[in-house]
C-alpha cells in the first residue's frame, strides 16, 4: 500500500526463499561460466601469438594452449547448462507456489470481491501475469546478473591486458545504450497509438465476426466491410511506422558495435606498432569488443521486461494479499440435522453502505414451509440467496437457523443444510458421475444412479455414448439447458438436505423437460423448508409466504390472498400476466 516496489519484491522473495541454496549455486555457475567465456578469447589470442609466420610456429606451445582452451570451453558449456537448470528449477517452483497460493486464496475470498471482479481479469492474473513473472522477473534476473558479471569481467580482463584500449571501449560503448534508449523512448508513443488502433480493430472484428448472424440478418455485411477497411487502413499506417521505428534499435546498436570494433582495431594496431601489444592480444580484444556491447543491449531489454514483470507480480500479489472471508470462529457451532426452521430478525443489508437494500426484514419460517420470492427480472432475488447461504453477511439483525444465529455456525455446516439449484446451471468439466457426486465424492454408483433416477436424468444419461462416464466439456457443451438443470437437481438429490433453495427456470427449457424438473422439485420440496425463486403461478399461489422484490428491495410480503387484497405491486404483477 505504502511503497509500491519494495512491497512487491519482499513478498515475492518469500517464494524464492525455499530455493535460496539453489539460487546461490546458480549465481556461482553464472560467475564461472562468464569467467570461462571471457578467458577463452585470451587463450585464442595466446595461441595466435604462437603462430607468427612461416617456420615460426611453436607447436608445443599451441598444443598446451589448445588443451587449456578445450578445458575452458568444456567448463563454460557445463556451467551454462547447470546454471540454466538451477534457474529453471527456482523459477518454476517459485511460480507454481505463487500460483497455488493465489488459487487457494481465491477459494477463501469473500463473494463480494469475486462478484466485483471481472472473470477475464482474474484469469489473466493467475495465468498470463504469473507467466510474465516467471519470464521477466526470475529469468530476467538471471540474465541481468550474467550481463552485469560479463560487463565487470570483460572490463577486468581488458584492463589486465591494456588500459588505453580498454578506455576506448568503455567510452564508446555507452553510445549504443543511448541510441537504444533514444529509439525506444520515441517509439513508445507510436506503440501506444498502434495498440489503441489495434484494440479498435480487434473490437470491431470481434463484434462483426462474433455477431455474424445478426449482421447477416440485416444485410449489414457491406457496411461492415467498409467500416472494417477504414479502421484497417488507419491501423496500417500507424503500424508501419511503429514496426519500422522499433526495428531501428537492432541495426543502430550493431552500427555502434561496428564502430567500437573499428576503433579497437585502429588503436590496437597503433599500440601494436608501438610494440606494447601483441597481435594475439589484439584478436582477443576484438572478440571482447563484440562481447562487451552485447550485455548492454540485452540489459536495456531486460529492464523493460523487469518493469512489466514487477507490475504483473503486483497484480498477482494483490489477489494473494486480498483479505479472506473471516474464518469461522474456533467455537463456531456445527449445524447437525437442522430442524428446518428459519427466523429472520430485523435483517438489514446493503452491498454498498450508501444504498440500503433490505431494511428491517423479519420472517418466521416453520419447518416444511414454502417461501416464494417473486419480482421482475433483475429485482435482486439473488441477494436473498446470498444472505441465506452466508455468501454475504447481513449488515444488521440476524438470521437464525434451527435456533442458532447463522453467524455463529460454521459456514460449511450452514451451507450443507441447504440444497441449492440455481437457474444458472454450473457443471464442472468432468464426467457426469463426478458431477452428480459433487457433494459426496465417495458416493457409490448405486447412490449416483438412484439420485439420477429421482431427478429424471437417468434415461437421457443412459442414451449418451459413454453413459455416466460421459465427459461434460466446458460449460456443459452438448447438453441442453434443461438437461443441465436436471443434473444440478441430481447433484442435490444425492444428499438432499433439510432446506432447499430453488430457482425456477424462465425460459430455454422445453416443456417436457420442464415438467420433469417440476416433478423433481415437487418431490424434493415435500416436507422440506424451501425458498423458491418462483415464476410459476402454481408455486406462487401455493406458497406459505410470498416475498415480493423490486429493484433490490423487499416491497411486500404475505400470502397470495393477502397480497391480492392489498392491491399493491404484487397484484399488478399478477394481473399483467393475463393481458393480451
Amino acid at each position: 500500500m505504502k511503497q509500491k516496489n519494495p512491497s512487491v519484491l519482499k513478498p515475492l522473495m518469500r517464494y524464492v526463499k525455499p530455493h535460496m541454496g539453489l539460487l546461490f549455486v546458480s549465481l556461482i555457475f553464472a560467475v564461472i561460466s562468464v569467467a570461462a567465456t571471457l578467458y577463452a578469447p585470451i587463450l585464442v589470442g595466446d595461441a595466435v601469438d604462437l603462430i607468427v609466420t612461416k617456420d615460426n610456429v611453436d607447436f608445443d606451445g599451441v598444443r598446451a594452449v589448445l588443451i587449456k582452451l578445450g578445458i575452458t570451453v568444456a567448463i563454460t558449456a557445463a556451467a551454462q547448462w547447470l546454471m540454466s537448470l538451477c534457474t529453471n528449477k527456482v523459477t518454476y517452483y517459485a511460480v507454481r507456489d505463487l500460483r497455488n497460493d493465489a488459487f487457494s486464496n481465491l477459494q477463501k475470498l469473500p463473494l463480494s470481491y469475486i462478484d466485483g471482479t471481472k472473470q477475464g481479469d482474474m484469469i489473466s492474473r493467475l495465468v498470463s501475469d504469473i507467466e510474465n513473472v516467471s519470464d521477466g522477473l526470475l529469468m530476467g534476473f538471471a540474465q541481468l546478473f550474467t550481463g552485469l558479471v560479463t560487463i565487470v569481467g570483460t572490463l577486468g580482463f581488458m584492463l589486465s591486458i591494456n588500459v588505453r584500449i580498454t578506455l576506448v571501449v568503455v567510452f564508446i560503448t555507452p553510445l549504443s545504450l543511448f541510441v537504444a534508449r533514444f529509439i525506444s523512448r520515441n517509439t513508445f508513443r507510436l506503440f501506444k497509438r498502434q495498440t489503441e488502433a489495434r484494440g479498435e480493430l480487434t473490437a470491431l472484428a470481434e463484434e462483426m465476426v462474433g455477431s455474424a448472424k445478426t449482421i447477416k440478418a440485416f444485410s449489414y455485411q457491406q457496411e461492415a466491410e467498409k467500416r472494417f477497411e477504414e479502421d484497417n487502413q488507419k491501423l496500417r499506417s500507424v503500424w508501419v511506422r511503429a514496426v519500422f521505428f522499433s526495428s531501428l534499435t537492432n541495426p543502430c546498436t550493431r552500427f555502434i558495435n561496428g564502430l567500437v570494433y573499428t576503433f579497437t582495431g585502429i588503436v590496437g594496431a597503433f599500440t601494436a606498432i608501438g610494440g606494447g601489444f601483441t597481435v594475439g592480444q589484439l584478436s582477443c580484444f576484438l572478440t571482447y569488443a563484440n562481447q562487451y556491447t552485447k550485455p548492454f543491449n540485452e540489459i536495456s531489454g531486460v529492464i523493460t521486461e523487469l518493469q512489466s514483470a514487477l507490475a504483473a507480480a503486483g497484480r498477482v500479489l494483490d489477489v494473494i494479499n486480498e483479505p479472506c472471508e473471516k474464518p469461522d470462529a474456533d467455537d463456531a457451532y456445527v449445524l447437525e440435522a437442522p430442524d428446518g426452521t428459519l427466523r429472520a430478525e430485523n435483517v438489514r443489508f446493503s452491498y454498498v453502505p450508501e444504498v440500503p437494500l433490505i431494511e428491517d426484514f423479519s420472517l418466521d419460517v416453520k419447518s416444511g414451509q414454502h417461501i416464494a420470492i417473486v419480482g421482475p427480472t433483475g429485482c435482486g432475488k439473488t441477494t436473498f440467496i446470498n444472505l441465506l447461504m452466508r455468501f454475504y453477511d447481513v449488515t444488521g439483525g440476524q438470521i437464525i437457523v434451527s435456533g442458532k444465529p447463522i453467524n455463529e455456525c460454521t459456514r460449511s455446516s450452514l451451507r450443507s443444510s441447504y440444497g441449492m439449484v440455481l437457474q444458472d446451471t454450473w457443471l464442472k468439466t468432468g464426467t457426469i458421475k463426478e458431477n452428480i457426486a459433487y457433494a459426496k465424492p465417495d458416493a457409490t454408483m448405486d447412490e449416483i444412479v438412484a439420485a439420477a433416477k429421482s431427478a429424471h436424468c437417468h434415461s437421457f444419461i443412459k442414451r449418451l455414448s459413454d453413459g455416466y462416464d460421459t465427459v461434460i466439456t466446458e460449460d456443459g457443451g452438448s447438453l441442453s439447458a434443461g438437461q443441465k438443470q436436471l443434473l444440478c437437481i441430481a447433484r442435490v438429490m444425492l444428499s438432499l438436505p433439510p432446506m432447499l433453495i430453488l430457482d425456477e427456470a424462465t425460459s430455454s427449457i422445453d416443456t417436457r423437460t420442464e415438467i420433469l424438473i417440476q416433478r423433481a422439485f415437487t418431490k424434493m420440496m415435500q416436507g422440506r423448508t424451501s425458498f423458491i425463486i418462483a415464476h410459476r403461478l402454481s408455486t406462487i399461489r401455493d406458497a406459505d409466504c410470498i416475498i415480493v422484490m423490486r429493484s433490490g428491495h423487499i416491497v411486500e410480503q404475505g400470502t397470495h390472498d393477502q397480497l391480492m387484497t392489498a392491491g399493491g405491486f404484487y397484484a399488478s404483477l399478477y394481473n399483467s400476466q393475463f393481458e393480451s
Partner: protein, 579 residues
C-alpha cells in the same frame, strides 16, 4: 505459410528489396574480418600507420553502408509485412462475410474472431521476421563459408563440417522441445479453464464446501505443469552450451591446422584471425536463428489456421440472383413440404412442414427446445437452405431473391440480444441506414423501449459499449426488437425474443405490436403459451414435425400436445380456474 505469400504480391518490390538489402548488409559485415586481417598483416607487420588509418576508414565506411542498407531493409520489411497483414485481414473479413449460418455454426464465431485477430497478427509478425531477420542468418553462414574459402580451401572443410552439425543440433533440440511446449500450453489452458470455472461456479463450490478439493485438483495440475516445464527446460537449456561447444571445437581445430598452414606459409597470421572471426559470426547468427524459429513456428501454425478458413466455401450464395418482382396477392410466407437437416444425411430437424401465412397475419410457433422452432423461422431469411420442399416469400422461392432484397423485407429479432458499439441511434439504423429519428422513436415505442431510452440523459445518443453490456438484459432485448421494426419490415420474426422480459413487459410488447403494425406478418417463436395465445395461427412443433396448426381454441380441442403444454404451464386463459 507459403500459401499466404500471395498477399505479398502487391509488395513484390519491397519483399525482394528487403532481403536484398539485408544481403548487402551481411556482405559488408563479412568484409570486416578481411579488412582487419589486412590491418594486422600489412599495417602492423610493416608498421605503416597511414595504412592502418586508411583501412580503419574503410571499416567505418562499411559500417555506415551497412547501417543504411539495413535501415532500408527494415523499412521495406515493415511496409511489405503490414501490407500483407492489411490485405489478408480485409480478404478474410470479406470471406467470412460470405459464410452462411451453416459455416458459422460449424466453425464457431469465437474461433473466427481469433483467426481474424490473433492469427493474422502472428502471421504478419512472422512475415516481418522472415523478410528482416531469418534470411540474414543463412546469408551470414553461407557468406562466412565462402569468405573462408577465399582464405583457405582446406580449412573451409572445418566450416563445412561444423555448420551442418550446428544445424542438426538446433534441429534436434527443436524437435524434442516443440511437442513438450505444446503440452505445456495445454496445461496452461487447463489452468485457465480451472480458474474460470472456479469463478463462475463459486457459489456452487462453496455451497457444497468443495474448496479444498478444487485446490487439490489445481495443485495436481500445477505439479504436472512444473514437471513438464522442468523437463522441457532441461533440453532447451542445451542449445546455447552445445552451440558454444561445437563452435569452439571448430575454432580449436582451425587454430591447430591453421598453425600447420601458417608454418608452411599457406596463410598469414591475420588470415587465421579472420577465420576465427568468421566462426564466431556463425555462432552469433545461429543463436539468433534458434530464437527466431519459435516465432516462425507460431506464424506457421497461425497461417495454417487462416488457410483453413479460406478453404471453407459458403454453402449458400445469391450469386446471379436479380431483383424479384414480388407478388402482392400471394401469401407473405409459404412453406411447401419443407424438410431440413443441419448436416447432410443426418436426422431431419424439420420434417415435411407446410403452412401459409397471409399478409398481416400473426403466426405463433410453440414447442419444446430443439423441436425446430428457431430453425423454421431461420429458413425464411434463407439463413439455412431447406433440404427439400420450398420456402416462398411473396410468391417466389427464397432461392431466387438477392439476399439484400429478401432480408430487406424481413425484420429479424434473434434469440441472443446482440447490440453493437456506437450510439443507440447507430444501432437502430442497422435495418434502414437512413432512418429518421421519428421512425426510430416509433419503433422504440412499439418495442416498449422508448421510456427507458428517453430517460437516459443522452437519449438516442447514448453510447452503448460492446454487446450493449451497459444495459440490462431486458433493455437489450427490447432494443433488438425496435431495431428490427425500424423502417417497417413486411415480415417480423421474433425468435423467442421476450425471454428476458418480465411478464408485464412481454404482454405490453405483444399488445403494441398487434395494434401498431398493421399489414405486417408477424412470427412469434416462444415457449410460453401466453406469448402466442392470441395469434391468428399457432404452429405446434414436436421434434421437427408439425403436431398441430390452428387457433388457441382449435388446438385446445384438437391437439393433445398443445393442451399438454397449456396444462404444464397452468395456462388458464386468465378467466377460469386452474386446470
Amino acid at each position: 505459410m507459403i500459401k499466404l505469400f500471395r498477399y505479398l504480391k502487391h509488395y513484390k518490390l519491397q519483399s525482394i528489396l528487403g532481403p536484398l538489402f539485408k544481403l548487402t548488409e551481411a556482405c559488408f559485415e563479412l568484409i570486416v574480418p578481411i579488412v582487419m586481417a589486412k590491418i594486422i598483416d600489412v599495417g602492423i607487420a610493416s608498421e605503416d600507420s597511414s595504412y592502418v588509418l586508411k583501412m580503419g576508414g574503410v571499416l567505418v565506411l562499411l559500417g555506415v553502408l551497412g547501417l543504411a542498407a539495413s535501415l532500408t531493409a527494415q523499412f521495406f520489411a515493415a511496409k511489405a509485412s503490414l501490407g500483407f497483414g492489411t490485405e489478408l485481414r480485409r480478404d478474410l473479413f470479406r470471406h467470412i462475410g460470405t459464410f452462411s449460418h451453416k459455416e458459422i455454426d460449424r466453425v464457431g464465431s469465437s474461433t473466427l474472431v481469433t483467426r481474424m485477430t490473433v492469427d493474422i497478427n502472428q502471421a504478419q509478425t512472422g512475415i516481418n521476421m522472415l523478410l528482416r531477420l531469418f534470411l540474414r542468418s543463412p546469408f551470414i553462414v553461407i557468406g562466412a563459408i565462402i569468405m573462408a574459402f577465399t582464405i583457405s580451401v582446406k580449412l573451409t572443410l572445418i566450416f563445412l563440417i561444423a555448420s551442418p552439425l550446428l544445424a542438426l543440433m538446433i534441429f534436434l533440440v527443436m524437435k524434442l522441445t516443440v511437442p513438450m511446449f505444446k503440452r505445456i500450453q495445454k496445461r496452461l489452458d487447463k489452468t485457465t479453464l480451472m480458474v474460470g470455472e472456479n469463478l463462475s461456479g463459486v457459489r456452487v463450490i462453496r455451497a457444497f464446501s468443495r474448496q479444498k478439493d478444487e485446490e487439490k485438483q489445481f495443485k495436481e495440475n500445477a505439479d504436472e505443469l512444473l514437471d513438464l516445464q522442468i523437463k522441457a527446460g532441461r533440453i532447451s537449456a542445451l542449445t546455447n552450451p552445445c552451440t558454444y561447444l561445437i563452435v569452439y571445437a571448430a575454432i580449436i581445430v582451425i587454430i591447430w591446422f591453421g598453425g600447420v598452414n601458417v608454418n608452411i606459409g599457406g596463410i598469414t597470421q591475420g588470415e587465421l584471425i579472420a577465420l576465427i572471426s568468421y566462426m564466431n559470426q556463425i555462432l552469433l547468427a545461429l543463436l539468433a536463428v534458434a530464437l527466431l524459429v519459435t516465432s516462425l513456428t507460431r506464424a506457421q501454425a497461425s497461417s495454417a489456421r487462416i488457410n483453413e478458413v479460406f478453404e471453407i466455401k459458403p454453402s449458400i450464395t445469391d450469386e446471379g440472383n436479380t431483383t424479384v418482382e414480388p407478388d402482392e396477392t400471394a401469401p407473405a410466407v409459404c412453406f411447401e413440404n419443407v424438410s431440413f437437416s443441419y448436416h447432410d444425411n443426418e436426422e431431419y430437424a424439420l420434417k415435411d412442414i407446410s403452412f401459409t401465412a397471409a399478409k398481416g397475419e400473426t403466426v405463433g410457433i410453440i414447442g419444446g427446445t430443439g423441436c425446430g422452432k428457431s430453425t423454421l423461422v431461420s429458413l425464411i431469411p434463407r439463413f439455412y437452405e431447406c433440404s427439400s420442399g420450398s420456402v416462398k416469400v411473396k410468391g417466389s422461392s427464397v432461392k431466387i431473391y438477392p439476399f439484400d432484397q429478401l432480408r430487406g423485407l424481413i425484420g429479424y429479432v434473434p434469440q441472443k440480444a446482440e447490440l453493437f458499439r456506437g450510439t443507440i441511434r447507430d444501432n437502430m439504423r442497422y435495418r434502414k441506414r437512413d432512418a429518421t429519428d421519428e421512425e426510430i422513436t416509433e419503433a422504440l415505442d412499439i418495442a416498449q423501449a422508448l421510456s427507458f431510452v428517453s430517460e437516459k440523459p443522452d437519449g438516442l445518443d447514448t453510447v452503448l459499449v460492446s454487446g450493449g453490456k451497459n444495459l440490462s438484459g431486458g433493455q437489450r432485448q427490447r432494443l433488438t426488437v425496435a431495431r428490427a421494426l425500424v423502417g417497417r419490415p413486411e415480415i417480423l420474426i421474433l425468435d423467442d425474443s421476450a425471454s428476458a422480459l418480465d411478464l408485464a413487459t412481454d404482454a405490453a410488447l405483444r399488445k403494441a405490436i398487434a395494434a401498431k403494425t398493421e399489414g405486417m406478418t408477424v412470427f412469434i417463436v416462444s415457449q410460453r403459451v401466453s406469448s402466442i395465445r392470441y395469434a391468428d395461427k399457432i404452429l405446434v412443433l414436436d421434434d421437427g414435425v408439425l403436431a398441430g396448426i390452428g387457433t388457441h381454441e382449435e388446438l385446445l380441442q384438437g391437439c393433445e400436445l398443445y393442451s399438454e403444454i397449456c396444462q404444464s404451464q397452468q395456462y388458464t386463459d386468465g378467466k377460469g380456474a386452474a386446470q
